[in-house]
């Protein structure tokens, strides 16, 4: 990312920016359908659309590596896990009348607050930083790797320890105690 010499307009309508906005709207729409639809499996499939839309946004910002990792981890694994769980429990075809929650207003408040926090943090952090989309790709695997292991090693390692702890915790929880009724 470079500090732009002149201040580029907020929405100079280049092709990439228009595409970015359109994909963003589609992603938001898919995400809204995900949380409002009454058909459980459809919700998971709309989640695929939303996550895929995010991957396209990354691509448009030339962060190719992040985009493919997004598809690999979220679309390829997390959603498959979700679908697996849904099929194991109860996934009727058609609408589920009970696929609704009394917490919807609380959830909406939390979602809006989280969104506001995230937008505020991002806007505050990247106030006058601009990505030059016309030059060489700035999110290639090389750049991402270098920045990850040069500037962000500590958070990276902390995250891996957290994941390891989660893994160990899951194994401990799923192990049946000796003598306990099965």
């Amino acid at each position: 990312m470079t500090l732009a010499a002149g201040h580029p307009g907020f929405l100079s309508p280049t092709g990439v920016e228009v595409a970015f906005l359109l994909v963003g709207v589609a992603t938001l729409g898919a995400a809204l359908v995900t949380v409002t639809t009454k058909q459980l499996v459809h919700a998971a499939l709309w989640l695929v659309v939303a996550l895929g839309g995010l991957a396209i946004e990354y691509l448009l910002l030339t962060a190719e590596f992040i985009a493919w990792v997004q598809v690999l981890i979220y679309v390829g694994s997390v959603v498959v896990l979700l679908l697996f769980g849904l099929m194991l429990t109860k996934a009727p075809i058609g609408r589920s009348a009970d696929a609704d929650s009394g917490n919807r207003w609380a959830a909406l408040t939390v979602a809006a607050a989280a969104a506001a926090t995230l937008v505020w943090v991002v806007v505050d952090a990247f106030r006058s930083t601009w990505i030059d989309l016309s030059g060489a790709a700035q999110g290639s695997a090389k750049v991402t790797g270098a920045s990850l292991f040069r500037n962000w090693v500590l958070p990276f390692e902390a995250l891996s320890v957290l994941l390891l702890a989660a893994l160990v915790g899951a194994i401990v929880l799923s192990r049946r105690k000796n003598g306990a009724p099965s």
Binding site: V41, F65, G76, S77, V79, L83, F84, I93, G94, S140
Partner: protein, 320 residues
């Protein structure tokens, strides 16, 4: 204008390969299986050794009625074959066939691109399994999902070992860095990758999700006509993609004598050889049970791929 023409030509070439190669492998499977079992296989369609059998099959599939079960989730049921098939077409674009840019398009993070997009194809089977409103289909979908989750990890680990060795995740870049001694060095990773790939494609001996003697045809039980043919095509396109990827990652792709002019031929030959092995395994191995399948992935393949990564790391540090 020339650039546009260049891109269009490459895409057309990939599309032709996508339409022709799976059929060639399908016909080879007919013949190889037949000869291994002491039969002749198709002999009449087209005259010479039944070469047109699959074309005739295609015509037959296209004529059949396209039935959607009454209880099915119509739209998802109809969408599923496309979701299963298209990822393989996309992957084919990124597989380098020869030196000097003989590839659909150079993707910077090519390795991750192909693995990510291949993983999406399984969503098609899951959608088909759930939307069919059929217990056998649902069971098939469940088994597909369980199998994918078990075998995705060793596949990724084996592929990342090659990326470590080459120091890049671009597929042409990996081939540029290749030396002949990579084959013995990465052989364990290669075997793990190929086995895990077979499991992702649900090819025998990993065809638990479509085990015909237990659950009819798994997620595809309710499909007829063209949509069923698309699922079959996805399976054979998957074989092409898996064999091509194994060739590129572990067997040196276009490297070989006279690679400059005959590189593409080497890629095709190695891919064809692997495809033959895929067919051979189908004929010679019994189907693994679900627990054996999971055990193989978690207790054999993952430790092996981790050992391969350790070996790659040690050699890399020693030689650099």
């Amino acid at each position: 204008m020339n650039d546009v023409l260049d891109v269009a030509l490459r895409l057309v070439a990939v599309l032709v390969a996508f339409l022709v190669l799976p059929l060639v492998i399908g016909q080879t499977e007919h013949k190889v299986m037949a000869h291994m079992q002491g039969r002749l296989g198709p002999m009449y369609a087209g005259g010479f050794h039944g070469w047109a059998q699959l074309v005739a099959d295609g015509v037959k599939f296209a004529q059949k009625e396209d039935v959607v079960p009454a209880g099915a989730d119509r739209r998802i049921f109809q969408l599923a074959p496309a979701v299963a098939l298209l990822p393989y077409l996309l992957v084919l674009i990124a597989i380098p066939v020869g030196p000097h840019g003989l590839v659909g398009t150079v993707v910077d993070a090519g390795l991750f691109f192909v693995l990510a997009v291949m993983g999406v194809g399984v969503l098609g089977s899951l959608m088909a399994g759930w939307a069919s409103a059929n217990k056998f289909s649902l069971l098939g979908g469940l088994r597909t999902a369980a199998q994918l989750m078990a075998y995705e990890l060793p596949m990724l680990l084996a592929a990342s070992s090659v990326a470590m060795a080459a120091g890049t995740i671009s597929l042409p870049g990996i081939l540029d860095a290749f030396h002949w001694w990579w084959i013995p060095w990465q052989i364990i990773g290669g075997l793990v990758f190929f086995t895990a790939g077979l499991a992702e494609l649900q090819r025998p001996p990993f065809d638990m999700p479509v085990a015909d003697s237990e659950i009819i045809f798994g997620a595809y039980t309710e499909y007829t006509g063209l949509r069923f043919a698309l699922f079959l095509l996805a399976e054979y396109a998957g074989i092409v993609v898996l064999c091509g990827l194994t060739t590129v990652l572990f067997l040196g792709g276009w490297h070989g004598p006279m690679a400059g002019s005959l590189g593409w031929l080497w890629t095709l030959l190695k891919t064809a050889l692997l495809a033959f092995v895929v067919i051979w395994l189908r004929v010679s191995y019994p189907r693994l049970r679900e627990d054996q399948l999971q055990k193989l992935a978690w207790t054999v393949l993952i430790p092996l791929s981790l050992a391969q990564i350790a070996l790659t790391g040690v050699v890399k540090v020693v030689t650099s």
